[in-house]
C-alpha cells in the first residue's frame, strides 16, 4: 500500500511516500527542505514531486500519515490541513503520529533518549523514549533547563533532534546527529499497524501544547484627562 507521509512540525518541511506491506515498511521517495518560513509554499509542490518520483497519481494513495507536532503552530497546520484535505478528496484514512516519535523512536538504542525540537521563545518541545523506542514522558514544552532535570530523572543518556542541538550546552547530553528532524519512515512505521488493519482514520488534531496568546478585553480606556 502506497502511503503519503507529511510533517511540518519543525523547520524541515517533509513529504514522503512509503510502501507498507505485510512484512515491512519501505521508503519510496522523500523530499525535505529546511526553511522555517516557507512551509506553505514548499509542502504541496513536494507532495507533487514525490508522487512524480515514483510515477504515482494521488488516487494511488491508500492512506495519509501526518506528524501531529508539537511544533510552531503556523507551520504545523500546513502539514495537517494538507493531509486532511487530501484525505477528504481521495476518500482515504488519515492517521496522526506525534512528530517527536519520529525522532525518538528511530534513535532508540537500548538506553533512554531525549527527543527535542525547537519551540521558539527559548523553549523546546520534548519527549523521552525508552531503549526500545516507547515514549516514557511527553510530549511537553518547557525551558531547556527544566527538560535537563527531567531527563536526568529518567536516566536519559543521549539526545536527538534540532532542539537538542540548539540547547546541547544546557541539556548537558551528547547529541546524536540523526535524525535531526522527524523521520518520515519512522512516522510511517508507527502508523503501519493501523494502516494494515484498515483502522478508521482520525481527525488530525495538532498537539499545540500552548494556548493562543490573547487577553480578554478590558473596559474602555478613557480619552478624557
Amino acid at each position: 500500500m502506497l502511503v503519503l507521509v507529511v510533517d511540518s512540525s519543525t523547520p524541515a518541511v517533509t513529504a514522503a511516500l512509503a510502501e507498507v506491506s505485510a512484512d515491512g515498511v519501505a521508503l519510496r521517495a522523500a523530499r525535505c527542505t529546511v526553511d522555517a518560513r516557507a512551509h506553505g509554499e514548499l509542502l504541496a509542490p513536494q507532495v507533487d514531486a514525490v508522487l512524480a518520483d515514483v510515477g504515482a497519481r494521488p488516487a494511488d494513495l491508500a492512506a495519509i500519515v501526518a506528524g501531529l507536532g508539537p511544533g510552531p503552530f503556523t507551520g504545523l497546520r500546513v502539514g495537517l490541513v494538507t493531509a486532511a484535505t487530501m484525505g477528504q478528496v481521495l476518500g482515504v484514512p488519515t492517521y496522526g503520529v506525534c512528530s517527536l516519535d519520529g525522532l525518538g523512536h528511530p534513535a532508540a538504542a537500548g538506553e533512554p533518549v531525549l527527543a527535542a525540537s525547537d519551540a521558539r521563545r527559548r523553549e523546546i518541545y520534548w519527549a523521552v523514549y525508552d531503549g526500545a523506542g516507547q515514549r516514557l514522558a511527553g510530549p511537553e514544552v518547557a525551558a531547556p533547563a527544566v527538560v535537563a532535570e527531567r531527563a536526568r530523572d529518567l536516566a536519559v543518556t543521549v539526545a536527538v533532534g534540532d532542539g537538542a542541538h540548539r540547547y546541547a550546552d544546557v541539556l548537558g547530553l551528547p547529541v546524536r546527529d540523526e535524525p535531526r528532524y522527524p523521520d518520515p519512515l519512522a512516522l510511517a512505521r508507527l502508523a503501519a499497524p493501523r494502516i494494515r488493519a484498515g483502522a478508521p482514520g482520525e481527525t488530525l488534531t495538532p498537539l499545540y501544547l500552548r494556548r493562543p496568546d490573547a487577553v480578554a478585553a478590558t473596559g474602555h480606556k478613557p480619552v478624557l484627562p
Binding site: G40, E41, A44, R77, T85, V89, L90, P212, P222
Partner: protein
C-alpha cells in the same frame, strides 16, 4: 449553460471559514463556519484563535458546500482561494487547504485577492460588472476605494483608511456604548430609533486642506475619539447617555464620508457604476444613503445582499470563475499566503 466554469472558492482571511461553489455567475453553495463567538470576549479577532478554528472547520465546511451544490471535487474546473490580504496564519490554512484539494483532485488553483473577490461577488446577484466601475469596500479589516478597469486583471487603488477600518470604528463605538461585538449590526439597530443629526460628529479627511493629499482616503480614528469624549463627558456629568442618538449620529458621520468620497470618485472619472461590498455594506443606512445620493447623479449602486457582503467562500469562487472565463492562467503550486497582498494583484 453547462460550459460555464464550475469553481470552488475558499476563504479564510479573517474569522470566517467559507467554501463557496459557483457555475459561471450562478451561486450553487455558500457554506460558512464562523469563529466570531470565540473572539467576542477579546473584543476583536485573535489571529491564533481564528487559525485554529479554520483548521477544524475546513473539511466539514467543504463537505457541506459540496452536498449543498450536489457536486464532487472531481466535477470542478478550478479551485480559488484567498491568498491575501488578511491575517497571515489564517490565510495560510486556506491556501494550504486549497493546494491539498488541488493536488489530490489534480485541479488548477487560483490564489486571489480578497478585495477583488468582494467586488466579484456582486456578479452572482447582478450579473456581469460594467467596467470600469468604482468599488467601495468597507469591513472590520479594510476600507478601500478602488477603480475596477478589468476585474480579472486591472484594479487601481484610489484610497484607503489611514488608521482604523470603518468596521473597527463600529466595534469600538459599540463597546463604548455597552453593545456586543461585532458592533455593526447593534449600532445599526440602535440607530434606527435615534436622531442622526443629534450630535455633530467630525467627518475625517473631508476638510479642504485634507482633500488635497487624501481626496479618497478615510480616517475614522478621530471620529471614534470624538464619540468617546462626548460619551464620557455625559457620564462624568452624571447624565444618561442617549445610546440611540449617539449610534445614529456616529453612523451618519461614517456613512456620510464613505458615500461622499465614493460618489466623488465616480463623478470625477465619469464612471456610473458603484459597487459596495464588505461587512459594513450590510449597514442599512449606508445602503439607503448611497442609493439616494448616487441616484441624483445618475450613478447606479450595486450592493450584494448582506450575507454576500460579509466574508464568504462564494465571493472567492465568483472571482475564480471570472478569472477562468477570462482565460487567466492559474497560480503555481508554491503560491504563498500574503497578508499584505497589494490591491493591484487580482490573482497570484
Amino acid at each position: 449553460m453547462a460550459d460555464e466554469p464550475l469553481v470552488l472558492g475558499i476563504e479564510t482571511s479573517c474569522d470566517e471559514t467559507g467554501v463557496g461553489i459557483v457555475r459561471g455567475h450562478t451561486l450553487l453553495a455558500d457554506a460558512l463556519a464562523s469563529s466570531v463567538e470565540e473572539h467576542a470576549r477579546f473584543g476583536g479577532v485573535v489571529p491564533e484563535v481564528a487559525s485554529r478554528a479554520h483548521l477544524e472547520a475546513i473539511v466539514p465546511t467543504m463537505d457541506r458546500a459540496l452536498r449543498e451544490a450536489g457536486v464532487t471535487i472531481a466535477d470542478v474546473d478550478a479551485i480559488a482561494v484567498t491568498s491575501g490580504p488578511g491575517l497571515a496564519g489564517a490565510l495560510l490554512v486556506g491556501v494550504a487547504a486549497a493546494k491539498g484539494y488541488a493536488v489530490a483532485a489534480e485541479k488548477p488553483v487560483y490564489g486571489v485577492n480578497h478585495l477583488a473577490a468582494h467586488v466579484a461577488v456582486d456578479t452572482l446577484e447582478h450579473g456581469p460588472l460594467p467596467e470600469p466601475a468604482i468599488a467601495l469596500l468597507v469591513s472590520g479589516g479594510h476600507s478601500s476605494l478602488l477603480r475596477v478597469d478589468d476585474l480579472a486583471r486591472d484594479v487601481v487603488p484610489l484610497g484607503a483608511t489611514i488608521d482604523d477600518a470603518a468596521g473597527e470604528a463600529f466595534d469600538k463605538v459599540a463597546r463604548l456604548l455597552g453593545l456586543p461585538f461585532p458592533g455593526g449590526p447593534y449600532i445599526d439597530r440602535e440607530a434606527r430609533a435615534g436622531d442622526p443629526a443629534a450630535i455633530a460628529f467630525p467627518r475625517g479627511l473631508t476638510a479642504a486642506k485634507d482633500l488635497a493629499g487624501h481626496r479618497y482616503d478615510f480616517s475614522f480614528s478621530g471620529l471614534k475619539t470624538a464619540v468617546a469624549r462626548w460619551v464620557e463627558a455625559r457620564q462624568r456629568a452624571g447624565e444618561p447617555v442617549p445610546v440611540a442618538d449617539v449610534a445614529a449620529s456616529f453612523q451618519e458621520a461614517v456613512c456620510d464620508v464613505l458615500v461622499g468620497k465614493a460618489i466623488d470618485a465616480c463623478r470625477s472619472s465619469g464612471i456610473d457604476t458603484l459597487v459596495i461590498g464588505g461587512g459594513v455594506a450590510a449597514n442599512s443606512r449606508l445602503r439607503a444613503m448611497a442609493e439616494q445620493r448616487a441616484g441624483k447623479h445618475g450613478i447606479r449602486v450595486r450592493t450584494p445582499r448582506p450575507k454576500l457582503c460579509t466574508d464568504n467562500g462564494a465571493m472567492v469562487a465568483a472571482l475564480g470563475s471570472h478569472l477562468v472565463a477570462a482565460g487567466v492562467a492559474p497560480s503555481r503550486l508554491d503560491l504563498p499566503a500574503d497578508s499584505a497582498l497589494p490591491l493591484t494583484v487580482v490573482s497570484v
